[in-house]
């Protein structure tokens, strides 16, 4: 998924006709001063750090300035600051407005019902999780017909707006729905949707685009704000990558088997670190790439757990052997391989002729992995 920074989300909103404040993104104090002096954004301004984590208001990532001098010092203080692990590189300047009411509006997928779900609340500006069910209106949206009048009416009742905002709501709901569908979004969220001088304005924007729809939206391919370098490589190679807290590297195929592997390792006290899911591949190069990626993550020990289906065991074995020759000595790691399924015997032969022992029992393999990790840690870490 691609999480869009607030200003990118607002740009999406603008394209679909959702009103947003007139803002500018700046990357330096000089730029900020120029934006204000030129009148592009009038003082007083709100300065918002363009980070993806929530809770910016409480965390000092949203500040105000009433003079150019104040603005410059606020910008200097905010640029480069660390916010929940993200470095602030961009700030959004917007005019400070008198907010009448704060509302909440979002559309996301309801997986069980297999339809998008619009959620609205007359109480916006807070974490939606903090609201009780009776403060929320939930409206399933049929993908073939969008929001019907009676569904909009339910939102209108929850908001109980006065004109002109009440007149604007229907169009805004349609726009939000079109943005959700048109951008292949996993989430479009306006929190708060504010009433400013009687009109509806989206004061914040949270938009998450689905990765799988990237072929329809090449413009989002460039956005990688929330990815670590290793995640970025994994993405390019189409390998699912998860970074956990432990030291055991796990390479498996299929999400279910990956998770089951985690469960089995946990049973023996193993703490997994990097997880790679090969998915269904029978390309030895992809297997090699996965191993080289794993080597970069510097695991203390690696557990290869493959059940051969689409992915054939001999393919994995060949890719693994090829990778081993390419990993520099400094990055070497102990390896426990467990392979079952299609071409299992052939895979085992290939591994064994390269000096790698291939087990078949999952429980025994997991135990071996955890013991190998303990041994390595006991011996004082990397060689």
């Amino acid at each position: 998924m691609v999480k869009l920074a607030e200003w990118r989300g607002k740009e999406v909103f603008r394209r679909y006709g959702i009103p947003i404040p007139t803002g500018r993104v700046i990357r330096s104090a000089a730029e900020a001063a120029e934006v204000v002096r030129s009148g592009a954004v009038p003082l007083p301004v709100v300065v918002k750090a363009q980070v993806l984590a929530g809770g910016r208001g409480k965390g000092g990532a949203v500040r105000f300035a009433t003079t150019v001098e104040e603005l410059q010092s606020v910008v200097l203080a905010m640029l480069g600051m660390d916010f929940k692990g993200e470095t602030v590189k961009e700030l959004l300047l917007e005019p400070k407005v008198a907010v009448g009411r704060e509302l909440y509006l979002s559309i996301a997928l309801d997986r069980s019902a297999r339809v998008p779900l619009l959620i609205a609340s007359g109480t916006g500006g807070v974490e939606i999780e903090s609201l009780s069910d009776d403060q929320l209106v939930r409206v399933p949206v049929h993908p073939f017909v969008g929001l019907a009048a009676y569904e909009k009416l339910r939102v209108a009742e929850a908001f109980s707006l006065a004109p002109p905002a009440s007149k604007e709501l229907g169009g805004l709901l349609d726009s939000l729905w079109r943005a959700f569908q048109g951008e292949d979004a996993e989430l479009v969220e306006i929190n708060p949707l504010a009433v400013v001088e009687g009109h509806l304005v989206a004061l914040d924007a949270k938009v998450i685009i689905e990765d799988d729809a990237g072929f329809r939206h090449p413009q989002y391919a460039e956005i990688r704000d929330d990815r670590t370098p290793l995640e970025e490589i994994a993405r390019e190679k189409e390998i699912a990558f998860v970074q956990l807290d432990g030291d055991i590297g796990v390479i498996a195929n299929g999400a279910g088997l990956t998770m089951a592997t985690l469960d089995v390792l946990a049973q023996f006290g193993g703490r997994p670190g990097v997880f790679l899911d090969l998915g269904g591949t029978d390309d030895p190069n992809k297997v090699t790439e996965a191993f080289l990626l794993m080597a970069k993550a510097r695991p203390s020990v690696v557990f290869l757990n493959i059940f051969g289906g689409v992915t054939r065991c001999d393919t994995v074995a060949k890719g693994l052997v090829a990778a081993m020759t390419q990993v520099p000595d400094s990055d070497r790691f102990p390896l426990v391989a467990r392979i079952r399924g299609n071409n299992e015997d052939l895979g085992r032969q290939i591994l064994e002729s390269a000096g790698i022992t291939a087990l078949s029992d999952l429980q025994a393999s997991a135990q071996a992995v955890v013991e190998a990790e303990k041994l390595r840690k006991g011996s004082g870490g990397s060689p």
Partner: protein, 294 residues
């Protein structure tokens, strides 16, 4: 009787000339499935492993009587491939393709409902009924004819468990891999009644994952409607919250959909819940013995 497919099933492979399409056409045929046609636009007239290739599904249906489709076409074209199958009168489509945008799947699901085409998948291993037919990619080696039904959201983990059932000397009636995507054509609740009604199934194995609430809904259904014993395993008990474990179907959101909630719901519904995948076969054997079926 088996579930969804049997020896009369006539399969058309959409995307047969692609690498996966060809590989699995061979495997399905080795399984004994009647693979009667393939479709790749522009390659009509060719043959793949003895299977005639047509330019359209409509032509394949008209010429070969195909009634079930398995879709291997790349994700950007999967939506239209499914619509084509549906318009051609195919009543069951097994969609193996992964990475289909869920917005496309919403369309496909509703279009299938409108036209009466059942979807298994996407991003799924498909269906296997040993001795009858296989439509999908589950490895042939894991199967053995028997009376255990399997429904799963996982791929390889299913193979692992199905294989384990074979290794304790039992076999499967029908095995369905539903796929783990955010939007699936068929959920546990859709599939459970088929197994309940299937005279060749004595027990149902349900393989779930963290994320979503499909297992909780299955538990509710089992509690209310299922008379046959159920053995379940839920993968991801040790997965940390909020981490994406390989596909979008496995995100834990807002405390719902945890392994704990799924396991507890299933246990309360009378299912036996395994702690680890390799415990499933023994629990299956035990429940069958208790039910007097073994």
């Amino acid at each position: 009787m088996s579930v969804l497919v049997d020896s009369d099933t006539r399969v058309v492979v959409q995307g047969i000339t692609g690498h996966q399409g060809t590989v699995h056409t061979v495997q399905m045929k080795l399984f004994g499935t009647q693979v009667v046609a393939g479709v790749t636009p522009g390659k009509g007239g060719a043959q793949v492993e003895g299977v005639p290739v047509f330019n359209s599904v409509a032509e394949a249906v008209a010429r070969t009587g195909a009634n079930v489709s398995v879709i291997f076409v790349p994700a950007p074209f999967a939506r239209d491939a499914f619509i084509e199958a549906t318009d051609a009168g195919i009543h069951l489509a097994v969609i193996v393709t992964e990475h289909i945008p869920f917005h496309d799947m919403l369309t496909m699901y509703q279009y299938g409902r409108l036209r009466g085409t059942r979807i298994i998948g996407p991003n799924c291993p498909g269906i296997g009924a040993p001795g009858k037919a296989k439509v999908g990619i589950i490895p042939n080696v894991v199967f053995r004819p028997g009376r255990v039904g399997v429904i799963s959201r996982s791929g390889t983990l299913t193979y692992e468990i199905v294989n384990g059932i074979k290794e304790v000397g039992l076999g499967q009636s029908t095995c369905i891999g539903l796929g783990g995507d955010p939007v699936v054509g068929t959920s546990f609740v859709d599939a459970l009644p088929w197994f309940e009604q299937d005279s060749e199934t004595d027990l149902v194995v349900l393989v779930g994952e963290i994320g979503g609430t499909a297992e909780e809904e299955a538990a509710e259904y089992i509690h209310q409607h299922l008379t046959k014993p159920v053995v379940a395993y839920i993968a991801g008990r040790s997965a940390p919250e909020g981490k994406r474990m390989g596909h979008a179907g496995a995100i834990i959101a807002r405390g719902r959909g945890t392994a704990a909630s799924k396991r507890s719901a299933l246990q309360q519904a009378g299912a036996t819940v395994a702690d680890f995948p390799y415990d499933v076969p023994a629990l299956v054997a035990q429940r069958l013995r208790e039910a007097g079926r073994r």
